[in-house]
């Protein structure tokens, strides 16, 4: 026996219908989990459901437009919020990864509670999947990392929580997404706290003067966003040419490490980008992807040439365990 998507849909559409008596909002990042949960819940609730997407300023390149398009195509009642200033202000001065995750989680809930009030909803649907609550820990289980949608929830939250995907993993969510006709079924995972956990250290948008003298480097989030876009583009292009199998996840991380380089006969003291790519089925164990060296070479050359301030690129060769997939 394997996963029976049809039976699961029937079972959960009924469960959501029973679980929500009035109206509900669903927290939707546009990723596979929350989009699939939105489509499922929308089958149960129709117009009594409102999907809320928040642009935190920590999203990938063109992500917000892409998500808006997806939700429109899927005919899910939705609302797009832009709150990047609030998120950056809340993260100022914070470099501890757990604190970052909790601050972002709390901010999300604050916004969702506000939206729920306006919409008249008493329930919050989330696309929480098994690894989210497993890694968030509780009682006997150690906390590996705070998943904002689980451990970021305040104890006194008034909204009733409904989580139809709680007992399944990403591979099963993808099967479900395919059965529901969700375009983003094969999209790579992207963490809820977004690029905040891919900038190791403080997430300030205004650090200056690290590159060539007199030149201003972009904000750290902008920098990791550009580097990630290059990693995604090159790996997807190589996969298209059948040079490699598309990894489970592939992205860039900005390290809080500066190193010496030479640009045009001038000394630079620049930023370091780590490239991460892993193969996995369920996110609970993972091996680093064996990306061909010439593909890594291209990624490295492009990042150090196209992303101002970066003069070094390293490739992460750790498995999970002992590492986790994301760096924070």
């Amino acid at each position: 026996m394997t996963f029976d998507a049809k039976a699961f849909i029937a079972e959960q559409v009924e469960a959501v219908r029973k679980g929500v008596s009035g109206k509900a909002i669903i927290a939707c990042s546009g990723g596979v989990d929350s989009t699939t949960a939105a489509v499922l819940a929308s089958r149960s609730l129709g117009d009594r459901l409102l999907a809320v997407y928040v642009d935190t300023g920590l999203m990938r390149k063109d992500e917000t437009n892409d998500v808006a398009r997806t939700l429109k195509e899927l005919k899910v009642n939705h609302r797009i919020l832009r709150d990047e200033d609030e998120f950056f202000a809340a993260l100022r001065g914070i470099s501890d990864p757990e604190k970052k995750r909790i601050i972002i989680g709390n901010k999300f809930i604050e916004l969702f509670e506000r939206e729920a009030k306006t919409f008249g909803a008493d329930s919050l649907v989330q696309g929480t999947i098994a690894p989210d609550w497993i890694e968030s820990g509780g009682q006997l289980r150690d906390r590996i990392k705070t998943h904002h949608n689980v451990a970021g929830l305040p104890a006194n939250m008034k909204l009733k929580l409904v989580e139809p995907l709680r007992d399944i993993y990403k591979d099963e969510v993808r099967a479900l997404a395919r059965a529901l006709g969700v375009r983003v079924a094969e999209r790579q995972p992207f963490p809820g706290p977004g690029l905040a956990v891919r900038v190791v250290g403080e997430v300030t948008p205004d650090r200056v003067g690290l590159g060539v003298v007199g030149e201003v480097t972009p904000d750290k989030v902008g920098l990791v966003r550009e580097a990630s876009a290059i990693v995604e583009h090159e790996i997807e292009a190589a996969a298209k040419e059948k040079r490699l199998t598309l990894p489970w996840q592939y992205f860039a991380v900005l390290l809080p490490v500066q190193t010496v380089g030479v640009h045009g006969d001038l000394r630079v003291y620049g930023q370091t980008i780590a490239v991460r790519a892993v193969d996995s089925i369920d996110g609970m164990t993972a091996v680093f992807s064996k990306i061909p060296l010439d593909v890594l070479d291209r990624i490295s050359t492009r990042i150090t040439n196209e992303v101002p301030g970066v003069n070094r690129v390293v490739y992460d060769v750790s498995n999970k365990p002992p590492a986790t997939i994301e760096w924070e």
Partner: protein, 190 residues
Amino acid sequence: MRVYVVDNGGQWTHREWRVLKYLGVDTKIVPNDSPVSDLKEVDGLVLSGGAPRVGIDPEKMGKNGDYIDAFSGPILGICAGHQFMATHLGGAAAPAKVPEFGKSVVKVHQPDVLFEGLPDQFEVWESHNDEVTMLPPGFTALASSPNCSVQAMRHRDRPLFGLQFHPEVEHTQFGPDIFRNFLKVCENST
């Protein structure tokens, strides 16, 4: 067939439940302080791994000892569950000289029903700080890895099995086969 997973707080407890579910078993995750009387209709038990370190905080292992003493069906202890089984029955577990995290290779020395149909050497996934350092009386070691001499053990008469590695995760080779073999034992003893 009904096989429950006793939750000792592992990252992969829920994976054990998933593998059993995929194998068509009636299964449920139960807290490790469930009374043994709740397990009357159950054909087998899996004692999960977990954050508790059996040498340091054995009280976090709840009623695992009662299950080992009073449950008559087959029991498969994994990681912390395996180490607890050893200490509870008179063996010992202690911090490993070389803890193993991630990929390793086990060698099967002693053919056993648990490894039926498997090669004598295969890749497994590990995640442990402690290990079994002395087998309990009546137990035989079945397999080892370069850094851990007791990767698998079983009781000679009772259907008690212990595995240091994690057969429930995707990256361990032959994981579902090991569970299938354990289920055969459960089937034969009911």
